[in-house]
């Protein structure tokens, strides 16, 4: 009984300890941003590895998700003779929820895990320590460029995912199932609002998700136990924690933007 309570207390303290370290880490990261302005080339290189290299999986997933939405929406709406609203269904689901959320989950799996593994391995091979020995701040040189690049890449990836998804829905609905093209677009335009749906949905949500996904990824790498087992654990934690936090935050953001 006492031992159980003690274990619970230890787990709670451990958790808060990590949260505190993660917050301090974020503050140091933000403090290093000023130094980054002098070397924008570092960000470009990271944008390539987290952004450009994530494009294929984002584009393919977006296409298939949009096509599935088109098929499912059609199958359900055809009973009511309401297939002209298919454009609305596809666009609103993608813009408000699926685009930013799925893009963030794919990002965590594709880029976040790689970030964690890379930084963790740098720690294991004592590259970070070596940098400090040479008076190079790893926050300015390693962590901040990766974090900033990820924060920039995430909204762009979510936008691409959403746009391709809508095109996929269009392809299935109009080309394959014979929904009227004019109705598809005009019903969509009548229902989707620029600020309330596109900006709040895709842009704000994915910016928030990009922030937490990259924060978790970089911190887990930095905080990894410097063994090969520790890196694998940290990489797993990046994907699991990002997924949980993104889904929970998505609920909160949806309640704020679309709840009333």
């Amino acid at each position: 009984m006492i031992e159980g309570l003690q274990r619970l207390g230890r787990a709670t303290l451990f958790w808060f300890n990590r949260l505190g370290r993660a917050t301090l880490f974020l503050l140091r990261l933000l403090g290093a941003l000023a130094a980054l302005g002098k070397r924008p080339g570092l960000i470009v290189k990271q944008l390539y590895s987290v952004g450009v290299l994530s494009l294929p999986i984002i584009a393919m997933s977006g296409l298939f998700v949009g096509m599935v939405l088109g098929l499912q929406g059609y199958a359900n709406l055809v009973d009511f003779g309401a297939t002209s609203s298919l454009g609305t269904v596809v666009a609103l689901s993608l813009v408000r929820e699926l685009g930013p959320v799925l893009a963030a989950l794919l990002y965590a799996a594709r880029a976040g895990s790689a970030l964690t593994a890379e930084i963790g391995l740098m720690k294991v091979t004592e590259q970070l320590a070596a940098m400090q020995m040479m008076a190079v701040d790893p926050f300015a040189r390693v962590f901040a460029p990766r974090f900033v690049a990820g924060v920039i890449a995430m909204p762009l990836l979510a936008g691409i995912f959403t746009a391709i998804g809508i095109l996929g829905g269009y392809f299935v609905a109009v080309q394959q199932l014979g929904v009227d093209s004019g109705a598809f677009w005009s019903q969509m335009q009548a229902a989707v609002r620029l600020v309330d749906d596109v900006v709040n949905g895709v842009v704000v949500k994915s910016a928030v998700f990009g922030w937490v996904a990259n924060w978790i990824a970089v911190f887990e790498g930095y905080d990894a136990i410097p063994t090969s087992e520790g890196i694998s654990l940290a990489t797993t934690r990046t994907v699991v924690n990002t997924a949980l936090v993104v889904l929970a935050l998505d609920f909160v953001l949806t309640a704020i933007f679309f709840g009333a």
Partner: protein, 161 residues
């Protein structure tokens, strides 16, 4: 330096693609024309009951959308709903005796305000109001009336002297 250039090019393409996606979402998916909303002139119409009419619902004349609903309020004195309509400036020749009714598009569709032009030579201006209105059809009331009609129809008609 060749690889760095290629890398920068790829990042440039990525950024352009992302911005193009947002451009498409803004132009093609959402109705960007709705942003400049206060260009139209405002007129009000009083209804006994607006039913399920919502702000942003379309205002049509002859089936063509000419504006939209920008406000729904209750006049606390007369207990009438005051609906503010924003009409696009190019449709500035609506006669003052035009009438407004709240209609439904399709069986389960959204409600909108349909205008019928009148015959006067004077035209509605900003701040004008529509006098002739027809309220929304409330299904419960309609059924209620049908039921009472059917019930009274069973009885022999009242004798008229």
């Amino acid at each position: 330096m060749g690889t760095l250039k290629k890398l920068e090019l790829a990042v440039g393409v990525f950024v352009v693609l992302g911005l193009a996606a947002f451009f498409m979402l803004a132009m093609k998916v959402s109705n960007i024309a709705d942003l400049g909303e206060d260009k139209g002139y405002k007129i009000t119409a009083r209804f006994e009951n607006v039913g399920g009419l919502k702000v942003r619902a379309p205002v049509t004349l002859g089936g063509v959308r000419i504006g939209r609903v920008v406000g729904i309020d209750l006049d606390a004195r007369s207990y009438e709903a005051v609906v503010t309509l924003s009409i696009e400036p190019k449709y500035d020749r609506l006669p003052t005796d035009s009438s407004a009714s709240i209609l439904t598009s399709g069986v389960l569709g959204e409600q909108y305000v349909g205008l019928e032009p009148g015959g006067m030579d004077e035209y509605l201006k900003n701040g004008g109001s529509l006098k002739l209105t027809q309220s929304a059809l409330v299904l419960e009331k309609l059924i209620g009336r049908m039921v009472t009609n059917a019930a009274s129809g069973d009885k022999p008609p009242a004798k008229t002297p």
